[in-house]
Amino acid sequence: MSASEFEYDSEEEYASSVSLDELEALSLTDSVHYTHKNRQTATGLSMHRMRYKPVEADEIEGQLKAHIRDVDGILQIGEDDCAVLMLKYEWNEQKLLEDFTTKEPGNLRRECGLATDTKVVSGLVETAGPEFMCAICCSEGPVETFGLSWCDHRYCVDCYVRYVRGGQTGLVKCPDTGCRLYVRPRELAQLSAFDEQRALQKEEKERQEQRQNLGGPLTSEQIMAKYQKIASESSDEEDAEPANDDESADDALFNFHERHIRQQRLEKQELRNKVLLSRYWYAVVLQYTKKHARTFRNCPAVDCECFIEYRGFDSDVISSVEEYVAHKYIPIVQCANGHRFCFACMSEDHAPATCAVVRKWIQTCADETETSHWITANTKDCPKCSSPIEKNGGCNHMTCGECHYQFCWICLGDWSRHKNNFVCTSFDDEEAKKEREKQETSRVSLKKYLFYFDLFEIHRVSLKKDTEFLAKLEYKVQEIQQRAKVSWIEAHFYRESIDTLLKCRITLMWSYALMFYLESSKEKGMLEKTQSNLSNHVEALSKLFEVTPTENVIKKKETFLTKANALKTSHEKCIEIFMESLVLNRIKFVSDIE
């Protein structure tokens, strides 16, 4: 990707300056993904697809550095000064070039927090004598300090490192309140290198101490210290795991994928966190992507540092994400770490429910669930005035508090027919039957909601359980794989099957939320059939996972592959059918969604 592409702030400009054919060619060389796999559905409807590219922070970092280099090619002031200027101008290259040519150079530098003479100075980390006191933490010398060479504000290295880490934008000002100078990447590199080296020395020292300690028996204090260290580490781990309550279920959706790449990702992230300079560049990347939020989105999964780059549409009709969503499309993208989310509303994968349905559903759930659950479980409506009544005693002779109608709790019939006999005998009575029917219709809307809510919940819980169960299983399979000396590729089908299963559960879950808002029609019936078809495939694969003993997994590869492929096909078909119905407005929503 060339640096010139950074000029495109909005997709309008993007689309107008690059022809479709060029983009097509670009997509071949540069791994561009599509929100939908096929350009045409089975019935021949040609779809509009969003193009995107999963990118990682270091890729963007490299592009930004190249961009800075390019700009410096024009300005000729050195890349470090140029980096500060670009950050200051929030990557608005045009404005910067304009100001650079019109403003007096000294003024521009002063305004942007650059010293007039930024010659390269090494050895910015100095040891200060006992007369030194760090103005931030008030600790006294002798201590290592850091400061810019063109202002005399020096602070201890610890404070400086913490201060830089706390920065959000990539612009690091000298901590002094009145000083407006910025710490450039070059100076920061010195601080970072010192910090890194010190951390290494500390590690080495600890290792040596450990080695010495191994020589003799541990003292009780050492044992205690060790115990506390392990205890605090394990409690940290527990904190990191999502708790088992419902709120964390959203995290659980992402949790499984995370296990796959956790190690790799953590290592990378750890490194980025550890090295001050990398952290700084990540802040720069974040600032840049926030500024260009139409093009770049940060993956919403917890701690995921991946990005999605928007690459326009393969359509002449649609030119923005907003328009795309208005046409009831759902732009689901997948980041490099495998997290699937919606590019429009930034929530987790919610196809086939549209963004509007998701918002409405979440709101409905928040409003209704608890209250309505309790009402159905504990109350009946008064046959006369329909106010809900809670039974608070054992007697079945009820008197409505609102209209004072007397009725029998069991058959909902008039109490007068029970007078001689306290046992309800009139259950089959015509009138009582009618009452009960009435009751049912009055609760039908609530029931409808609860029906779909339960289905949604069931799949959500299943998803969570599957996620946990399969993650455990996978470790076992890995073990077996190693023991049986089967190659990683050979066992890869297992991981893929799990991925497919979880993906389909999510789809199923959201399809029920969508169903709740649809008016009954032939089309809806068809969707329901598709849904139950998918559901069958999901359960079949889920069952296979449960009944197959771990030792046999590899032997059963064929069965897994068949079932998973069937599910995959069914899932693709399902998504396509739902999307067609939505996009062609073949289905009507009951209440007006937005």
């Binding site: 200051k88 305004e111 931030i136 201060y163 901590p175 002094d176 309140t177 407006r180």
Partner: protein, 167 residues
Amino acid sequence: MAPKISTAQRRLLKEFQELLKSPTDGIVAGPITEDNLFKWRCILEGPPGTVYENGVFEAEMDFPADYPLSPPKMKFTSEILHPNIYKDGTVCISILHPPGDDPLQYESADERWGPLQSVEKILLSVCSMLAEPNPNSPANIDAAKLWRENRDKFDEIVRAQVLKSLD
């Protein structure tokens, strides 16, 4: 082994000592209790020549664990009507906001929070805020409206609060 003192504690202790050693007129501040350096009580005199003159206003400060990297929170416990003070007493002033929200606003960078600001500087800023309210970013909209449109009524309420603060 002596208990380890955190950066924040060391710094707060130092600031407290400085305030005791060289007190500033109209400002008194210190930790509420000996065992918690992270909660301070402050007493501010209303700046002379303003409607707040002669008032003695009490406020509390809450310091975060990563002080001085993050700013403290300040809340008046005395009743005080002012456009930049929320109805619950929380003070809204630029020195208590970390910089970086708008990088191009460099003019105000030295009025923002930074690790070299201090309790004393905050209190001095609050004093000048009392003298000169900033009606452009009101925290208490009713107060701002009153201040702009009916200064007599505003002054009357504040004077009553000043009297109350002396009880």
